[in-house]
Amino acid sequence: MNPARVPRVFLVDDHHLFRSGVRSELGDAVEVVGEADEVPAAIELISERVPDVVLLDVHLPGGGGRAVIEAIKPIHPTVRFLALSVSDAPEDVIAVIRAGARGYVTKTISGPELVDAVVRVASGDAVFSPRLAGFVLDAYASLPDDIERPSSLDVEPDHLSPREHEVLRLIARGYTYKEIARELTISVKTVESHVSAVLRKLQLSTRHQLTRWAAERRLI
């Protein structure tokens, strides 16, 4: 990230109080170029201002954060999304990630950590909070083995490599990327690329299995 240019951020959340809270927490580290409280307004303003990063609530009136991503992605592929939520039903969070969000953090995140996450997403990396890492581990752990695995390329996105699994577990345990790098004696860049790989798998994985996982979650 070029230090001379702070990321331009757009806030989408239906709680006014929360938006102003985030604004003050972000402070001067980023430039907030606008905010919206519902899906249609968000789509309109984002396509007008083309920010670097959109901080997006998972739950929104008018279709949820997912609808915003799905509308913006085709027209402005450079805009990146970071999902933000308190009420994290795993299936909703996974749905937003699969729609194209670069990461997910909970609203309890501290100011500096949020700034860090925004900068990371702006520079094209993925941001996994411990909770998201937990959801992903849970999703992949419960993918049934009885389903026949096709011997095509499809296999890849449906399984985490041992290293990715390790990285995710450390994230879930509350480790920062730097701490993970030290623990596994790899570089922070490598940690980042593992996380990005997991994100990609999550987005590419055959719909069938992950939706099945989500459906089971909903039924329990």
Binding site: H15, L17, V86, S87, D88, A89, T106, T108, P130, R131, A133, G134, L137, D138, A141, S142, R169, A172, R173, G174, Y175, R218, L219
Partner: protein, 428 residues
């Protein structure tokens, strides 16, 4: 549609469509096959079960009911869509060619059946062929979700995909015995050399019925089971949506309270966190606020949540817990939770950190729990006297239950406690 004017299906449906209010659609959420009965019932204001019984009776009386149903499936748009399958089928040239090729098949079937003197089957030939033609067009032109449903039903019917060999053999056996029974039935009904007892057609009908049950019975059973569970799931989802709406209102109230105590940040944080947990529990686990804790937690995940909540309330630090998997509590796992709780209290009391992370993972062979803070940390070799007891109570407790406790810490870099116990085998 070539066969349109011949069957009673389209005429029947069209008549209803004009008689009722609005346009007749196939129901999406009240359906067993294509939602025709559900749509009809809504249009007529009758109970859907009555409509279904009538349709089944029509189907049994000569088979035209089945053909009519298939034609209705083709000609009625599904709820929320304006296009019928038939409209799409007009541009499906291969499908139409396939259907046309059924005509010689019909002629052949009629010739064979009349040669066999199976006259009652002859009368069934036309509706069977009409239905088959309709189903071919539907399968080729239906919308994605209906197609998926059709192919999964087909899979279930043919026992494809499940348990492979054994069930396929079972299916073949069932099919063969069904054919034998059917042939026996035809023979009994048609053969004049048997006694002219009035029981004769009845006996034949019984054979035919038995054949149907043998071949299709298991599939019906499964269909009925799926239907019940699907309906239950829908009801549950509705309840949840209702609850979510109610919670949204209470969120606004909490926000108002927070605004009022805005000059006491500690209080605000505590209030918000407590409320957040409560709502989450209510929303996603269906437990009303406050109903937890009267009887102890029953599973690991619930236990972790209780630790999270209690320690936040008692010590005013944020506890972020992530759990992967879940298991019912037994002695070992309860000990794990107790030790984990101890470690969390330690972190909250001594580390000086504002937040503590808990991570619990249920693996196939063991359960691990990590408690981590970014506080002051300490030198694990020179543990202060007053803290050794606590450490021992964590370590000792784990060892007594066949588990392990590892404590990693260094001054200035926080502490992580790792606990793990093996799982007893034979648990899911």
């Amino acid at each position: 549609m070539r066969w349109g004017p011949r069957g009673d299906g389209p005429g029947y449906e069209r008549h209803r469509r004009h008689a009722g209010r609005g346009r007749l659609h196939r129901s999406r959420d009240d359906r067993i096959i294509a939602g025709v009965a559900g749509g009809l019932a809504r249009q007529l204001g009758r109970d859907v079960t009555v409509v279904r019984i009538v349709l089944v009776l029509l189907a049994l009386a000569g088979g035209y009911g089945v053909a009519g149903y298939v034609v209705a499936w083709l000609l009625l748009p599904a709820e929320g869509s304006s296009e019928t399958i038939a409209a799409r089928a007009t541009s499906d040239r291969r499908g139409i060619a396939l259907v046309l090729s059924l005509v010689p098949a019909l002629v052949l079937l009629l010739i064979v059946l009349s040669a066999l003197r199976a006259s009652f089957l002859t009368s069934l030939a036309l509706p069977i062929v009409v239905s088959a033609a309709g189903l071919v067009l539907i399968y080729r032109n239906a919308e994605e979700d209906e197609r998926a449903w059709l192919s999964s039903t087909l899979d279930a019917l043919l026992q494809r995909g499940s348990e492979q060999d054994r069930s396929r053999r079972a299916f073949t056996v069932r099919l063969a015995s069904g054919c034998v029974l059917l042939a026996a039935g035809c023979f009994v009904i048609d053969d004049g050399s048997l006694s002219k007892s009035p029981l004769r057609p009845l006996g034949g009908a019984l054979f035919v019925l038995a054949a149907t049950v043998v071949v299709l019975g298991p599939w019906w059973l499964r269909l009925a089971r799926d239907l019940v569970s699907e309906r239950q799931a829908r009801i549950r989802a509705e309840e949840r949506a209702d609850m979510a709406a109610r919670v949204h209102d209470s969120v606004l109230q909490t926000l108002a309270m927070i605004q009022r105590s805005a000059n006491q940040p500690q209080e605000v944080a505590k209030l918000a966190r407590a409320q957040e947990r409560e709502l989450r529990t209510w929303l996603f686990e269906g437990r009303a606020p406050g109903s937890f804790g009267t009887e102890g937690p029953a599973t690991l995940a619930a236990g972790v949540e209780q630790i999270e909540r209690e320690i936040e309330a008692a010590h005013g630090v944020a506890v972020d817990a992530v759990t992967v998997g879940d298991a019912p509590l037994d002695d070992e796992l309860s000990a794990l939770l107790a030790a984990g709780r101890e470690a969390t209290v330690n972190a909250a009391k001594w580390s000086g950190a504002t937040s503590v992370s808990i991570y619990l993972e249920v693996e196939a062979r063991r359960v691990c729990m990590y408690i981590r803070d970014r506080g002051s940390g300490f030198d694990t070799n020179s543990i202060a006297g007053d803290r050794r007891g606590i450490t021992e109570s964590i370590r000792g407790r784990m060892q007594r239950h066949g588990g392990v406790a590892v404590i990693r810490s260094a001054p200035g870099s926080g502490t992580e406690v790792e606990l793990s116990v093996p799982r007893r085998s034979g648990r899911g």
